[in-house]
Symmetry: C2
Subunit: 614 residues, 2 copies
């Protein structure tokens, strides 16, 4: 934001004073906010296109409603940056997604204006219904407002929320922000459905024409009109109440132009006056006001950093675990038509874009619907297919029951690519992949691999598909492989012991192997030596391995996983003197390196611990 | 089934030969099947009303389609008994829900005619879509048929499945069995929505009248009709394509009378001919053909046993853990209006019926929507309410992510009553509550209590609500409290040590405490003594307690929980010589007593193990 404008803006009482701005002042404000969004996201990374699309929407909401008395629940939080700026967080906005800075999602502990936590999709309607219901019980006449994109609306939880909300009798407003895309594309009927409403205006026009025509018809015109209008059965509903949300019990307002402040405010005022559950559909353009993002919003969905005015956001061209997984899977599928790939709206994020091109008929983007993805995989498997579902670790949490019920009980052969396993960095607490080892370990018939480099990843994928039975989860971190000094000249999918004649053994797996290797290098410079055991198959319990471990005087385990249910916790049953360092609480946002440092899991911290104790 | 008829029936080749029966023979068959259902369920327990409602539906499906080439996926499986009888399982039907007998749900390992596992609600559309998709890829022209009740349709997973299926291009038929009730009542808009279609016939009639009227209008009639019929925009959709399923992309057939074989067969044939995703709505009467069940289907939903011709099914009048929980919660809510109760379609099963009567405005039956229940609870809690969600252990698996994301990260205070914890008996493998301790333990900010009797249950509930923070899970078994000889004159919510001067300590919790007490009694008759440690708070790690445990020569832990992630597994880290007996795999159906026996967790087995080792 322009420095001068920013000072001016910081002086006013937010968000209350926004109501006193003229429409032309609002337009200037929107422009300034867009500049701020572009500047900050290009520096800190984050969600650009979706936030650029929600500038007017956010301002209009704050002008019509009174946060924090009215409660805003932003689904996912991809659209909440303007809301943050308008609720006193402009001064800290350059700390967005930084350690100790503003969250990239909504966070009640950050501001009283964030009424509920966001990060995982599709929870807004349920949460807002809970809030609105409690308000009603408390005799409080304020509103709960859920703001949800069309992508998040495909999640089953949204539907459960809508199904319950529609029949409620509370001050709940659901703003559906239709921007013609889920994260990577329109998926499913809901998106198509919403897009029909773009033509709602012409529908209204047609309805009026029909009614007028009927008015002009003598004798029979009026009875037909009456039949259409007042019949108790569905023909009335079918004309005068024609949409999914109305079917679910909501009043419906819109669609309105999401970049027209006047239209937006009128719609919100209308919804507010209804004092019952209302859906307001707002049509917006992702990336509005920034040409590169407007032209290619998918690329600008979540970006690490970008250079303003370049055509494309900065996306590393080098390999990462996701792209290697996707490419290897595509290769295997080239010569095996049983292999099917599934993503829940993360085609690019999980590196499945190449697979989608080469094997279109065997690629399934199910939208934000992790539960369906797993059960659908179960269905494919019963007919001889080999389904591979690539999903972020923290989103896989959604499918815990489906893994048990629809896959594990029948010992179905299915592969889960657990992407973003471990610390994820700036996305923060809601996105950390620190529970998958624990919760997958509580399920029979699941084998968990945690490769530490690309070659192991490929080997695990191939072994999982062709040699193993049951569910095979292969977990790998966000980011790319790094070179390190501890090397073997063969590739294992079980475990590898690096012997240096030490009586100290350090056990680890996955990304931390490289950190341990760094610690090994540093210790070496001080003439201290450690042996290192790298686990790859986290589910095996090899007695030979246990015996070997027990032959060491001191044994350390460093693990990037919540401790309860972890591998180290289980192993401690067999290794009495095992000294474990793992994760003991939720992990806030920071760079991956910084988080590992805080958790005592960086190469440097591992070195320091070992150096002081051996 | 009549003996003579049964012999005749067993001779024919099932299900293929069903196609050769005349309609009048079919009617006789339906009558015989109903007699069999009533006879067997009254003896073995199970789902009566829903199965009585689906007799003609099942027969018609098997006459129109060819199982196992066409794949039947029965949602939940509450309606699949007739399907079992018609696919060669009549001869074993009296083993229904018995150990080593037929499952009360669908089970691929039981019959090739059960295309997918059932038990947990709402998975059928996703599974059938997976099957139909694989068929298409395989060049197989057969059909996948999902059969789902209106209750199961409220689950978010159903919606995710429908949203993906509607846009697919596969031979998928979804039969929606509308019987005017979820498990305990109509919940939400979907049910209301479906009920509108009961009047679809009159809608059709009106539509015809309007069209004919327009035909008779000179000049302007035809243009209006054309506008209505051929306009590309929504007015066409609103008249000619008016329902939720069509909105989602399905063809729609029905509703048809679910007890009229001819209508059913015509509808299925029509759907089959469409060769694309079709929804067929079938209206049925729960309990059809058995007057007591028809009049009161809710009571006959899941019954343990009933006497034919009595007005009410046999439901024990005595207290059980569920009713005690519900009553105590109601009492607490009498004097604390912050307390809200939530159930996911299990008002009676979880003992919340009294609460629903006394505190109607604070009672929420959200339908089969466990995810929503938890997020909704989170919303209530942000406004100062104390939400209490009572749910069966195995269904709570559905909400794993919501517990983490919508409650635990914000350290929200919410109570989860984990009903049916541990072995559940005849419902079998899909319903066993053996994972809750493990998966809840993987989440920060969760306290788990496992009371072993009613007094402890009440004390834990009160402590959870008033003294604890964060998420409090209180788990208790199906069934009722039993007396035992090990007693204390105070009530603890932490742990209790029963000292008898032995150097052998037995640790346990929950229902197994009574089993251990029985073992204690038996050992006593042989002049052997054990000390017993009963845990109540499973999350605490009291160093005093650990030290006390370590003072024993031998320590045994008996636990009704999957071993990975269990309390005993964690405790073994501190108690080197701990000998654990827990659950190591999925547990098949049997009586609770028999399952405990097989698992080495019955009083008798515990006695035998201890007697041989001490």
């Amino acid at each position: 934001m322009n420095k001068e404008y920013e000072e001016e803006f910081n002086k006013i009482n937010l968000p209350g004073d926004l109501k006193n701005l003229s429409i032309s002042e609002c337009r200037i404000l929107c422009k300034e906010i867009r500049d701020t969004l572009i500047k900050t996201v290009s520096k800190n990374g984050g969600h650009l296109a979706s936030n650029l699309g929600a500038v007017e929407l956010s301002l209009a909401l704050h002008r019509v409603f009174s946060s924090p008395k009215d409660k805003f629940v932003w689904d996912v939080g991809h659209q909440s940056y303007t809301h943050k700026i308008l609720t006193g967080r402009l001064k800290d906005f350059d700390t967005l997604r930084q350690e100790d800075g503003l969250s990239g999602f909504c966070k009640p502990s950050e501001s009283e204006h964030d009424a509920f936590i966001s990060g995982h999709s599709s929870n807004s309607v349920s949460a807002a219904l809970g809030i609105a219901t409690a308000m009603k019980l408390n005799g409080d006449n304020h509103y709960a407002i859920a703001i949800i994109g069309d992508g998040a609306a495909t999640g089953g939880l949204s539907f459960e929320g809508l199904n319950n909300a529609g029949k409620s009798n509370v001050n709940l407003i659901v703003v559906v922000n239709y921007n013609e895309m889920s994260i990577s594309q329109n998926v499913g009927a809901i998106a198509k459905y919403l897009s029909n409403f773009r033509t709602k205006e012409s529908y209204k026009k047609t309805k009026t024409i029909v009614e007028r025509a009927l008015d002009r018809i003598p004798v029979i015109g009026q009875p037909i009109k009456n039949t259409l209008k007042f019949s108790k059965d569905t023909i009335k509903n079918s004309i005068f109440q024609t949409n999914l949300f109305e079917d679910l019990g909501f009043e419906f307002v819109g669609p309105v132009d999401g970049h027209n402040l006047k239209e937006l405010e009128d719609a919100f005022k209308k919804a507010k006056a209804m004092k019952k559950p209302v859906v307001v559909q707002v049509n917006t353009i992702k990336g509005k006001g920034y040409a590169p993002a407007e032209n290619n919003p998918s690329k600008y969905h979540g970006v690490s950093a970008l250079k303003i005015n370049t055509k494309n956001p900065y996306v590393s061209k080098s390999d990462c675990f996701s792209t290697v997984f996707g490419r290897e899977l595509t290769l295997l599928a080239d010569s095996d038509d049983r292999i099917c790939a599934i993503t829940a709206a993360m085609k690019f994020g999980t590196g499945l874009d190449k697979f989608a091109e080469s094997h279109k008929d065997r690629f399934f983007d199910v939208g934000i619907a992790e539960e369906h993805a797993l059960t659908f995989a179960g269905g494919l498997a019963t007919m001889g297919k080999i389904p591979v579902f690539a999903v972020y670790s923290s989103f896989l949490q959604r499918g815990y029951d489906q893994i048990i019920h629809d896959l594990a009980i029948s010992n179905t052969h299915a592969i889960i690519g657990v992407d973003r396993a471990g610390i994820v960095g700036e996305d923060g607490v809601t996105h950390q992949g620190i529970f998958d080892v624990s919760f997958l370990s509580t399920i029979p018939n699941v084998t968990i691999y945690s490769p530490s480099d690309y070659d192991e990843l490929k080997a695990c994928l191939s072994k999982g598909i062709y040699d193993d039975s049951g569910i095979v989860a292969i977990r790998y971190p966000r980011g790319n492989d790094k070179d390190c000094s501890l090397k073997k000249d063969y590739i294992s999918t079980d475990y590898e012991l690096y012997e240096n004649g030490s009586d100290v053994l350090v056990i680890t797996y996955g990304r931390l192997f490289k950190e341990v290797s760094n610690a090994y290098d540093k210790l070496k410079t001080e003439d201290k030596s450690i042996d290192v055991l790298k686990l790859i198959n986290l589910s095996s319990r090899d007695q030979n391995m246990i015996d070997r471990i027990n032959s060491y005087k001191k044994v350390y385990f460093f693990e990037e996983c919540y401790y309860n249910g972890s591998v180290s916790q289980r192993l401690k049953n067999d290794i009495a003197n095992l000294c474990c360092t793992a994760i003991y609480d939720f992990v806030p946002q920071a760079t991956v390196a910084s988080s590992l440092e805080h958790l005592g899991l960086s190469g440097d911290k591992i070195y320091k611990k070992l150096n002081s104790e051996i």
